[in-house]
């Protein structure tokens, strides 16, 4: 209880994701940016990003993820990393690795960069370039080798789906060969850009089982050398994912133009107004804004969540999924076997993973597009 307000403030956030820009040379058809990309002219300036970092550190944020789009399209990236480092924030760069020259990487390390998360689209170069819609795989490998030479901690992030899953073992070997400390094997989550690609990308339940077995075998084989984090496609699951570890509990994100979000995809939810760092301080937005309060805690929950013993484990699952599949963001995530609408998910997963014939669509400037 705060003695001043007489009401408890929410716990402070642990992590801040800065989407510095939506510009990116890659065109992956499962991009996590919103469908309505923000133009470069609307991006916050250096001074405002630095103020956001100041406010985040004061609020209790411990880790900052510099992301995008491709964050290195921002010329002030080194300056922002140095600013965060001076505040003792843990700095992580989430990058495609295709635009950064070695000298610039060295400057970022000099500025205090502590960790890099590098994406790869596949282990097979031709397939990787086709999935990304950009010939960048070879540059990514060169970038990863520089990380090793400079002694920078890094995670290889592999987004997996039907078109690359058969090479998962080779992706794991690539992470070992490149000397990554950590590998994220993340199945596509089917929101935003990935949604029209459901038929082209969702694996069958059998492919998913084989992938899970590969990950488990690799974890045993690489114990003490490589940590592997594994995110399954929740359309095949029986329990919902604890999306964002609970709405407004640990995480906040800022879009290129300064809107503050409880989750990267939250702008798809209707009826929520996301406040902007240009108009209000980060702490006030975190503590008081209606959007952060809307699904925080357990009071908003419908049944069966409200009386479920897992309500503070999975926090009702994913709001964007409830909206996308049921048209109601406040419903129980239908991935949950206890949801009265769970059959919707089962039908969708079955028909999508039977499909296979759908064309793969890229992220484009004017919406999803063919090659």
């Amino acid at each position: 209880m705060s003695p001043v307000l007489g009401a408890a403030l929410p716990d402070p956030p642990l992590a801040l994701l800065l989407e510095l820009t939506h510009r990116c040379p890659l065109r992956c058809g499962y991009c996590s940016n919103p469908l309505e990309l923000e133009a470069a002219g609307r991006e916050l300036d250096t001074r405002t990003w630095c103020r956001v970092l100041d406010e985040a550190a004061a609020l209790g944020v411990l880790q900052v993820h510099f992301s995008g789009g491709e964050p290195s399209t921002r010329r002030d990236l080194e300056q922002l990393v140095a600013h965060a480092h001076a505040l003792d924030l843990y700095t992580n760069l989430i990058t495609s690795g295709v635009l950064l020259e070695r000298a610039r990487l060295e400057a970022l390390v000099q500025a205090g960069l502590e960790h890099v998360q590098l994406s790869v689209q596949d282990s097979d170069p031709a397939s990787a370039d086709r999935i990304a819609g950009y010939a960048g795989h070879a540059r990514k490998l060169a970038f990863a080798r520089w990380l090793g030479e400079l002694g920078v901690a890094f995670t290889l992030n592999a987004v997996v789906h039907r078109q690359n899953l058969e090479r998962l073992d080779a992706v794991i070997e690539l992470a070992v060969e490149l000397g990554a400390q950590r590998l994220e094997v993340a199945h596509v989550q089917y929101y935003g850009w990935a949604r029209p690609n459901l038929g082209a990308l969702l694996p069958t339940a059998e492919q998913l089982d084989a992938a899970t077995a590969s990950v488990e075998a690799a974890r045993a084989r690489l114990r003490g050398r490589l940590r592997i984090d594994y995110v399954i496609p929740d359309l095949h699951a029986e329990l919902p994912k604890a999306c964002m570890d609970g709405w407004g509990r640990r995480f906040l994100g800022v879009t290129p133009s300064g809107s503050v979000l409880p989750c990267q995809a939250a702008q798809t939810l209707p009826g929520l107004h996301f406040e902007n760092v240009r108009e209000r301080g980060l702490a006030e937005i975190w503590n008081e804004s209606a959007a952060f309060q809307r699904f925080r805690g357990t009071a908003w929950m419908p049944e069966p969540c409200r009386s479920c013993e897992r309500r503070e484990i999975d926090w009702g699952g994913c709001r964007c999924q409830a909206l996308a599949l049921l048209g109601d963001a406040a419903a129980t995530d239908p991935v949950c076997a206890k949801s009265p609408e769970h059959a919707v998910v089962q039908r969708l997963a079955e028909s999508a993973s039977r499909g296979g014939g759908s064309p793969y669509l890229y992220r484009g400037a004017r919406g999803a597009e063919r090659a």
Partner: protein, 95 residues
């Protein structure tokens, strides 16, 4: 010689690359920061982690803690191995 990734009293632990400890004034607590993860070590874990310098063996760390906490060294050593094994499996500590 133990199996890969399995720690024992002779292991020499250090924090993994990209992992560090810092004090957080907002929460009045020590935190361990790692890629995509934050841990709040308890008092004992913190004492162990501070000694993971890539030079001291687990048995030496345990002996020092046993002295300062006036505890039996074999018990402390078993506890330290267990804790560090968990942190190693999580990628926070390497040997």
């Amino acid at each position: 010689m133990s199996a890969p990734g399995v720690l024992d009293a002779a292991s020499v632990p250090r924090l993994a690359r990209g992992v560090r400890l810092r004090h957080d004034a907002v929460r009045s607590a020590w935190v361990m920061l790692a890629p995509e993860r934050v841990l709040f070590p308890d008092e004992i874990a913190l004492e162990v982690l501070r000694r993971c310098d890539g030079a001291a063996r687990v048995q030496e760390i345990a002996a020092e803690l046993a002295r300062s906490f006036d505890a039996e060294v074999d018990t402390v050593c078993a506890d330290v191995v267990e804790l560090l094994q968990e942190l190693s499996d999580g990628g926070f500590v390497r040997t």
